[in-house]
Every structure is written in structure tokens, then in C-alpha cells.
Symmetry: C2
Subunit: 312 residues, 2 copies
């Protein structure tokens, strides 16, 4: 696709690829999905997708597709929700109606691979008006564990709202703004649900879970408890509510491709009070699913009503 065409497409809410080389390729193999334009009829398989939910854990993304199918009353008692990416073990993908659920593994590089291939998939499938939401887990700063954070901006380890992408050995800085109206709609939806605390705030995205997030419990640690507290408090003063490992590449790539995007993460612990995670946090992990499931249901209901009114 010509870049000019891509920009025009973005204007009519298709998914934008900014790559002049793609149009010249006879076949596009989406290797880490084990899908391709020659081997699969992507418009038939995915053309109706309106919501994509992504998250790190394969199990959680399977759990989400069951949850959303029940929410939308689309569940099939016999269906096992087959993994569309069964030909590979890199990512999993499930679909019910207009909702796609995809895992992205842990960290920026893994998430970047998935998003490159997801954006191309949505483009090849000629999807329109797609909303994409990352549902994840995070460490909170000064928030009660279980609080859900909707990301305003993804910031780096120096609290700046940018994502650095290295291209041909040179660093290119990309914007990490997310869709503010979508964030507000999600916050409103959480207020209506009234099941758990939800806030909008900045999310710090790091390349490491231990030293990169000032943990004291990794294999290596060269700083003190006070150094840790000082760093996390500075982050908090800069507007950081929580810390995870994918939001910056997610925000940057969704913005470049014209996708309406949000990041919704539950905080599993208050990092001012500790570092270690335990399996007792598992029930909290469902909160982003509950919120986003409720939001999607509300949106689809609203859209289904509109044409009916026009017809009447």
C-alpha cells in the first residue's frame, strides 16, 4: 500500500500500515501467528473484528474470550474456543463475534512482534473502526492492591512520555499518547460497574522487572531500600500510578496505525510496601477483564440500537 493511501485509509478508520514495501509482496507470512495472506482468507476470518484485547498471559487471554462470550451471550456450550494460532507456540489468539483476544508475552520486544503482525492482519482483513485495549497486571505506587489504572500516557524510566525505537542503528523517538476519550469512557464504565477502584494516571513502562523497576529481590541489586523508595516516590510525583513492561510500545504502535487504544492494568501490590508477587493475586487479575468486558458490551449494545432506530 502506498503511504498516501495508508494515510487516506486512516481517515476513514481502516487500520494504517506505513510501509510502501508491503503492497509489492505477493504473500505476507505473519510468522509468529502462523497465518498468512496466501494460506488464510484473512478478510473472511477477521473482517468483522471491532475490538481487540491483548495481554501477556496466554491463559488469561483464553479466560477473557470465555468471559466476553458470556457477557455478549455469544458463548457456545460446545465450543472450546480454538486457538487460531495453534500452528505456533509464540502467541495465542481467540475470537468470538467482533472480539479478538491475543496474547503478547512479556516485555516490549515480544509485544512489538505481536503488534506488527496484528496491525498487518487487521489491515489485510480490511477491518474498520477497531478499538484495541491492553488488559494487564502491574505494580502500583501508593495505591491499594487491586486498584485498576487506565493509562493516560506511557512514560519511560525517566518519567518522559516517549518510546525509543532503534531503526538502522539510530534511535527514533515515538509518541506514547493514548486515546483520552476512550480512557474517560472506560473510567465512566467502571463507575457504573462500581465493583472496584479505578483511576486514570501515567504508567511507567520498563525493559526489566527487577533492577529496572527498583526491586530489591532480583539476582542483582546494587542499591538500598532508601534509593528504591526515593525513585518510586519521584515517579509518583511525576504522575506515575503504576509500572509494567508493555505500555510504551503498545501506545506508540497503535497511534502510528490509527487504532483507538487504551491500557487497563490492575495493580497487584503497592511497590512502596514490597516487591514480591504471590499466586494469591490471581483473583485481582480478573478486574481488567471485567471492566473491558462490560465496556465492550455497552458499546456493541449502543451500536446495535442505532441502526434499529434509523430503520424505524
Amino acid at each position: 500500500m502506498d503511504p498516501k493511501d495508508a494515510r487516506q485509509s486512516a481517515a476513514c478508520s481502516t487500520v494504517c500500515v506505513n510501509n510502501p514495501h508491503l503492497g509489492a509482496m505477493k504473500d505476507d507470512s505473519l510468522y509468529h501467528f502462523s497465518l498468512g495472506t496466501t494460506t488464510h482468507d484473512l478478510p473472511a476470518m477477521f473482517g468483522d473484528v471491532k475490538f481487540v484485547c491483548v495481554g501477556g498471559s496466554p491463559r488469561r487471554m483464553k479466560s477473557f474470550i470465555k468471559h466476553i462470550a458470556a457477557e455478549l451471550s455469544m458463548e457456545d456450550a460446545k465450543s472450546e474456543y480454538p486457538n487460531i494460532c495453534a500452528g505456533t507456540d509464540r502467541f495465542v489468539m481467540y475470537k468470538t463475534g467482533p472480539v479478538l483476544s491475543v496474547s503478547h508475552g512479556m516485555g516490549v520486544p515480544s509485544t512489538g512482534i505481536m503488534l506488527n503482525e496484528l496491525i498487518k492482519l487487521l489491515h489485510h482483513a480490511q477491518c474498520t473502526d477497531v478499538t484495541i485495549i491492553r488488559i494487564g497486571t502491574s505494580g502500583g505506587i501508593g495505591l491499594a492492591p487491586g486498584t485498576v489504572v487506565i493509562t493516560k500516557q506511557a512514560v519511560d524510566a525517566t518519567f518522559l512520555p516517549k518510546f525509543e525505537q532503534v531503526i538502522l542503528g539510530k534511535t527514533v523517538v515515538r509518541n506514547t499518547d493514548l486515546d483520552q476519550s476512550l480512557a474517560e469512557e472506560l473510567l465512566q464504565c467502571s463507575k457504573e460497574l462500581n465493583q472496584f477502584e479505578t483511576v486514570i494516571g501515567n504508567t511507567m513502562c520498563t525493559l526489566d522487572f527487577y533492577e529496572g523497576q527498583a526491586r530489591l529481590d532480583g539476582a542483582f541489586c546494587s542499591y538500598t531500600e532508601k534509593d528504591k523508595q526515593d525513585y518510586l516516590k519521584k515517579a509518583n510525583e511525576a504522575g506515575v500510578c503504576n509500572i509494567e513492561m508493555e505500555s510504551s510500545v503498545f501506545a506508540a504502535m497503535c497511534k502510528l496505525s490509527g487504532l483507538r487504544a487504551a491500557v487497563v492494568c490492575v495493580t497487584l501490590l503497592d511497590r512502596l510496601k514490597g516487591d514480591q508477587l504471590s499466586s494469591s493475586h490471581e483473583v485481582l487479575q480478573q478486574r481488567p477483564q471485567i471492566l473491558v468486558g462490560s465496556y465492550i458490551k455497552k458499546q456493541l449494545r449502543a451500536k446495535a440500537v442505532l441502526p434499529t432506530v434509523v430503520v424505524l
Copy 2:
């Protein structure tokens, strides 16, 4: 553990953690393995480990444990090689005799999480004389697909042998040297096997698979085919034989913890000739397994023979 003790331990070939806080912790939860010091008897489970093989794909690491069990004649026809990390879907782990096989997902952050917890596991289990080898896939530069590359140094996207770790918002540069004698032993082993071409060279480790590796087939591309070729040729002139996404953090962390470490990756394609991967590359992925399996067998045989000679 006191840092001084850790350094002394390294001298007698235990696994070194450089973290004075760990000794004060009553329990250490290795969250992404779903293992812990209170819930599991780590010395009993892992104390005999001498070789750890790691790789991105969970399926490949299961395939490796079956391969090495057969090589060492330790296979149990009934055994399904249970996943030791079954309590989580983040990583998989399998064990047969003194060999541990662990997945690390894709990219530096995911691999860093796994290595932090693996190094702590080996430390808690009081393992000694551990050799760790990453078996992976990569894109080659100017090499016939299927060539196996043993990494001399892991270099970054500007071809420099360093790994940048951000700690408390500041960048710390770490050394990415790997064990040269281990690399030579592996090369010698491949010569004896005589099944495929193997070379020693530098490996470029990137944070992105598409733009970060100068691919023309991602969702975004702002450069030309000539720009790509120029960049890859410069990399090759700087000694880079192949490109992957984990070697720098692997080299840096293994060096810090005193582990004898190597990276053995097969090249799935020649990046000077193309960008796309296909499933037809799957048979090539077995080559690092074959080489490392053969090496471990040779080492264990050599060690088993020595005491017998002494006893006689």
C-alpha cells in the same frame, strides 16, 4: 547473601547472586516459575543440575528435554516430562538427570525475568559448576540458511559489545563477553559431528524484530531496500554473523553470576536475500539441539570416566 560471600562462592563455582537483600528474606517467591523457597525443596529438586539449556519457544524446550534424555539414555518410556512450572503459563521447565531445559519467551525483558529467577533458583539449590547454553534461532548475514552460529560477543544495534541496563532511571553498561573456551569446545564438537556448518562470530541483539532488524515487511517501514542492505553489510563488516533478540541480556547476566555461558543459534534465512520466515524452517531449528545435546553427552561421559579411573 553478603556480596563478599557471593564473590567467594563464585570462586568455588557456585552460582553468584550479587544482592545483599536476598539473605534477609524469609521466603523467596520465584513468581514467574511458580516456585519458591518455602513451597519447594529447591536443593532436592535442582541440586544436581550441571547443564541448563534455555530457548524462546516452550515447545522447543520440551522437544529438547526429550532429545537430551534419549542422548543420555535417560529416557523413560512412560515419562511425559512434566512441566515443573505448570503452575504458571509464563515459562516452561523440564528436567532429566543433570540437565534443565527452560523457555524464556521472546526478547530481552522476558529473558531477563527468566534469568533473574533461574539464577536465584540455582543459588538457592546450591548448584555448582553449572554451564548454561541458549539454543535459539536467528537471521544470518551472508551465511547459508541452516548455518549454526556460536556467539563470540553479543553486540547492540550499533555493533558494540555492551548491554544497557536501566537502574533507578540511569543507564548502566554491562559486558557481553561469553566463555570463549566453551565456544571453542562447542565448535570442536560440531566438527566431530560433521552434520552442518558451524561458525563462531558476533551476534547482534535487537529490541525489535522488524524495524530494529532492518526488515522491509513490518507494519511500518521508512527506509529503502538499499538502506537495509547498507546497514546489514556494515554489521557484517563489524563481525556480526547473525541477529536475534536475547543474547546481550543472557551474556551480561550469566557473566555477572559466574555462569559458564554460550549462545548457539541456527540461522533460518540470509537477511541479505530476504526478510520473511516460513514454517519450512522448522527442521533447521533442531540443529542447536543436536549440537548442544552431543556436547553435553561428551562432557558427562568425560566426567563419569574420571572417577572410575581413580577408583581402579
